[in-house]
Amino acid sequence: MIETLIGYWDAFRPALGSALLLVGAVLAVIGTVGVLRFPDFYTRLHAASVTDTASMTLAVVGMALLAPNFATVFKLIVVWLFLFLTGPTSSHALANAAHTAGLQPLIGRVGKEDGGDA
């Protein structure tokens, strides 16, 4: 019984892993679109954080499902943890540097009312 379940899982795993990798890649593209469309530095940072979090997590989980053995999964967990801890630190460093340098963020509604340029 258990062996049949493991057999099903092993057959299903590559498909699920590839699907998650694909979704992660699509999210990275969406984040890039956001970076290109958003008007100023701070809002672009928000679009980049989609790539930082969801895209990265889905890609790592997808790779873990495709991994041949547990040693690889362990390394992927370490990579994920590293990115999870350093990602916000670097985003904060960028935002803080911009703020300290005196870059004023765009405040208030952008888009619809001014006709929308996109």
Binding site: A54, G87, V110
Partner: protein, 164 residues
């Protein structure tokens, strides 16, 4: 002493996991690992960084529980930003807000500010004392009380339950 042991256990687990030498049948490689782990712990002790920030593993269960909650929040917030990226008419409402935190210790404040940054749509720009300057993609996602639950949870995960 607890911090020392925590760091030691984590380093041993990290080395075993990264090297893949669980069986310790190769004495040369195992001794290299032993030497590097001892060197790291001794250096950490000499640098005087063996405190609750350098070795926060005592609260690992609480932090992992907090992360599980945070990841769900991150995926929810991602959805908002993804929709904002793909909307045909750009419609965002950026704002700068000051958030007051109830976190006492530096560790709890760091975890709280990093959680804000990690959640798409909000970035912590500056931390001054117990106030955090937050830039948000939508003003209403950073309205009053929006960060209260995250604040409470990160405080409880780092400093334990009790009066703030």
């Amino acid at each position: 002493m607890g911090y020392f042991l925590g760091l030691l256990v984590v380093l041993v687990a990290l080395w075993l996991g990264l090297s893949g030498e669980y069986t310790l049948t190769k004495p040369a490689i195992a001794s290299l690992g032993t030497v590097s782990i001892i060197l790291t712990t001794v250096l950490a002790y000499r640098f005087d960084i063996l405190d609750r920030e350098g070795s926060p593993y005592g609260r690992l269960p609480q932090l992992v529980a907090y992360w599980a909650w945070l990841i769900v929040e991150i995926f929810k917030a991602n959805w908002t930003v993804i929709k904002a990226c793909l909307r045909s008419n750009l419609d965002i409402n950026p704002a700068l807000v000051k958030v007051k935190t109830g976190c006492e210790s530096d560790l709890a404040r760091t975890v709280f500010a990093n959680s804000i940054t990690l959640t798409p749509g909000t970035v912590s720009v500056e931390v001054e004392g117990d106030k955090i300057l937050v830039h948000a993609l939508y003003e209403d996602t950073a309205g009053p009380g929006a960060f209260d639950e995250m604040d409470r949870r990160s405080r409880e995960a780092c400093d334990g339950k009790g009066p703030a």
